[in-house]
């Protein structure tokens, strides 16, 4: 084990500088949580295509082109600090993927969600909060001893990664973070659940069209941010608390994620499997049925820092003995090592599960060495990417499950909430808005609403459109149900 000693006369800041000098000369390691610009964007695109996203936009939110509806982010409607930060982050995006907004901040609704997925790692240190150990419910905690400090100092050296004060006060990324689930629900996450729900609410309730459009964009950015966090639960290192093994130990970053980025880019990822329905937000990550994405990923795949330790084979050792020795050193109970061939020497062989190669090994002399290679990456990506996308599609459907159905007859409208997961929370209220010909909206009714009940509201004579929402909870957790109905058959020129 490497140890670092400091001259005793140096204080904390002096040690920081010594570390800085040592590290400044080293070429930086490069690595990728699912590569943001390509893999995250591409997986999110496929998740949206497999979800009800288009239908919700087109038929519930009054955006007739749905996933292709052009939406403008009007930064002038935001407070100056928020607008500047958002503009700075959006300016970093690569247009090659098709999700970067135009110079006048217009992109399609689907592109905004993809941009949100990419922004969830912009700056990249945000990924510290994307880890989730389904066994403990905890996030990243992989910086024991000096390694966390070393990483924090390296970020100080990296423009924009952290400030000297951040490092000195422990606020910089030192290989620990919030759990992914806690991060999604955290108020300080500008791309989390609260930002998503707040944005959706304003996209219905704001008085002017450009305010509603901007609110919808911010909600979609938050949706992309949450989807990206879930997608990272499909990356073994993120659910096996393995930042150092995956991202720092190999010198060139995550070989697996690099493989996926190069093999599939942003536009050639496999389509999603059928959208995965789950009962609540947490169960997309982990649940008592064992079908959360973090659980299945942790149980099926190894990461570089959680492989079996290498060991020496004895003269009479059988395959069963080798399996047993390998399994003794595992940091997680699954996947198990089985069927190790101790006879062969010098050839790469594979441990298979369900026909998929999950672990490579070689016997050189008496030494049995375990590793992951491109064959394992290829099998993992081929089988797992569509599943990860399916979970992401399911989360989109879950978050957009609520629907307000509006039926208009004569001069009254009847509102009913559909798509609920169980009963609506007591005290839920339906907010109804009337839109005039100039696009301005005002609230015309707030009525208590019970599960299965309908609300009837008189339609104002100048109404061109009705919109309504319910922000509450049902059996699935936080709920936002929304619906809009045009009252105009002829569209004016």
């Amino acid at each position: 084990m490497t140890s670092v000693t400091f001259p005793s006369r140096l204080g904390f800041q002096g040690r920081l500088v010594v570390l800085a000098l040592a590290l400044a000369c080293a070429s930086p390691n490069t690595a990728f949580a699912w590569d943001a610009a390509t893999t995250h964007a591409g997986m999110t695109k496929r998740a949206l295509a497999a979800s009800r996203f288009h239908a919700v936009l087109a038929h519930q939110l009054g955006r007739p082109l749905g996933i292709l509806e052009p939406l403008r982010l009007d930064l002038g409607t935001l407070d100056p600090d928020t607008a500047r930060l958002l503009k700075d982050r959006l300016a970093l995006l690569d247009p090659a993927g098709g999700y970067r907004p135009s110079a006048d901040d217009v992109a399609t609704s689907g592109a905004w969600v993809e941009a949100g997925a990419v922004l969830s790692m912009t700056p990249p240190e945000r990924v510290r909060n994307h880890f989730f150990n389904p066994g403990t419910g905890r996030g990243l905690d992989d910086g024991p001893g000096l390694s966390g400090t070393v990483h924090a100092v390296r970020l100080v050296l990296d423009e924009g990664g952290a400030t000297v004060r951040d490092a000195a006060t422990g606020q910089a990324f030192s290989l620990d973070g919030m759990s992914a689930l806690a991060w999604i629900e955290a108020r300080q996450n500008d791309q989390g659940l609260i930002a998503f729900l707040d944005g959706l609410e304003r996209s219905v309730s704001a008085g002017q069209p450009r305010e509603r459009e901007t609110a919808l964009v911010r909600s979609l950015l938050a949706l992309g941010g949450m989807v990206a966090v879930l997608e990272d639960a499909g990356q073994p290192a993120f659910v096996r608390n393995d930042f150092r093994g995956e991202f720092l130990a190999q010198g060139a970053g995550s070989a697996f994620e690099r493989y996926v980025a190069d093999r599939y880019g942003a536009v050639a990822l496999p389509p999603a499997a059928h959208a995965m329905a789950r009962p609540d937000l947490a169960s997309f990550f982990a649940a008592s049925d064992g079908k959360g994405l973090a659980q299945t990923t942790q149980q099926r795949f190894f990461s570089p820092g959680t492989l079996p330790d290498d060991f020496d084979i004895g003269a009479g050792d059988t395959s069963a003995v080798a399996d047993s020795l390998a399994n003794q050193s595992l940091k997680f109970p699954l996947p198990k090592v089985a069927g190790v061939d101790v006879a062969a020497s010098g050839r790469t062989r594979y441990v298979k599960q369900d026909g998929r190669r999950v672990l490579a090994y070689q016997r050189n002399g008496n030494r049995l060495h375990f590793f992951l290679d491109q064959t394992v990456y290829a099998d993992t990506a081929r089988q797992w990417l569509p599943e990860v996308e399916a979970y992401a599609a399911g989360m989109v459907d879950y978050l957009l499950r609520g629907k307000v159905e509006i039926a208009v007859a004569d001069h009254s409208a009847t509102f009913t909430v559909a798509g609920l997961s169980g009963a609506l929370e007591t005290g839920a209220a339906l907010h109804v808005f009337s839109e005039r010909a100039d696009g301005s909206r005002q609230e015309i009714a707030v009525r208590p609403l019970a599960t299965g009940a309908s609300v009837v509201v008189d339609v104002p004579h100048d109404a061109k459109k009705l919109a309504a929402f319910v922000r509450s909870r049902d059996g699935g957790g936080p709920l936002f149900a929304v619906g809009e109905k045009s009252l105009v058959v002829i569209a004016a020129d």
Binding site: R9, G11, F12, Q13, G14, L16, V17, A20, L21, P28, N29, A31, A33, A37, K45, A49, A58, P64, L65, G66, I67, L68, P70, A91, L92, L93, D94, P95, A96, G97, G98, Y99, M121, P124, E125, R126, H151, V156, L157, D158, E159, G160, G161, V164, F173, G253, G265, A268, V408, D410, A463, K464, S486, L487, V488, V489, I490, A491, A492, D493
Partner: protein, 370 residues
Amino acid sequence: MRSPSGDRFAVALLALVLAAVASCGPIIENAPFSVRPDALQPGDLLGPFDGVVLDAETERPIAGVTVFGSWGFERGIGVQGPAGMRELSVETAADGRYQIPTPEDLPGGGSMRLRRFTLVVYRRGYVAYRSDFKFNGDARHDFSQHGNKVRLEKWHSSYQHRHHLAFVGGGKAIAKAAAWEIQPASLEYEGVAAPTMVETATGQAGAVSVQMLDASPLLSVEEVRGVTGFAGEFEVGRLMDHVRSDVYDSRHFKAKGKPEAFDVGLRVWFPGSVAAEEQFHKLTAELPAAVATEEIGDRSLRAHGGDVLGLAFLLREKGIVVQLSCGASQCTDAGMILRLAKLVESHMGELHLPAEKATPGTKTQGKDTP
């Protein structure tokens, strides 16, 4: 206890290191493409780039094609994220050639690196070209920095615009050139239509035009006046809520100087027999106060919202859906809108259809343009 002078020294030294690191240019990653088509030597991600755009069938150069290049920068230690971009778009010259120079003012500092260069080539009527992947998802191995040959394949009706838009990506220039695909792609998401657009002219390689649906023969100003008795003037144009295409057209009879309640609107969809059924079903669900009436065509409905009456009908065999809207001040009794609908139905033989087709999405012999 730390000494103040030691602290000052440490902070100054750290500032010096930070300044030194920040002044570095970006690391340029290895290019995944060769410098020339016949060379093994890797190219340079920074460029410059040059090549020619050809029609894949005729091998003739195509002029006026949008060629877009973008450089993606990333930054981070341990984990990387987007950290900047440069983009540039050009059009091919008369000989089909393009040149993209090396970008200026590169971002730098710390772990900044140039991660990728992507070239996107777009021309309506063809499948777009990307330097990294093909439209079928295969990796592209024939892109080169210099002397690159972009062979554009003609669009085919079996392709879907929504998949094409997802594939194209690209920046402002590409978005502008491909904007017209949004409408048919949206219809595909709705399950309504996979538009078929027929090439009608091929004077030069790549010079194609699209036949649009034309609803103008279906209803005239005189016919509206004859039914409703309206004595005023109409301005005739198109409704603006959907974009005209080969599967959709509209007419807007706007009563001059009168409120909306005097207007008449006509929408016509020609998506093919199967999708027409779905479109009619969609109207049934979406139009306010829609009621099935079965008074014209294979199926029909009436709707009303505010001061506007609506009537829609389906011609199943032709694969056509018609929606009429008439303001209550124009159609003063319920029979008027039905009479207008009968007139529209009677003119169906005069409708300018872009191509005879029964089932969209199937392959046709014609050359199609997206």
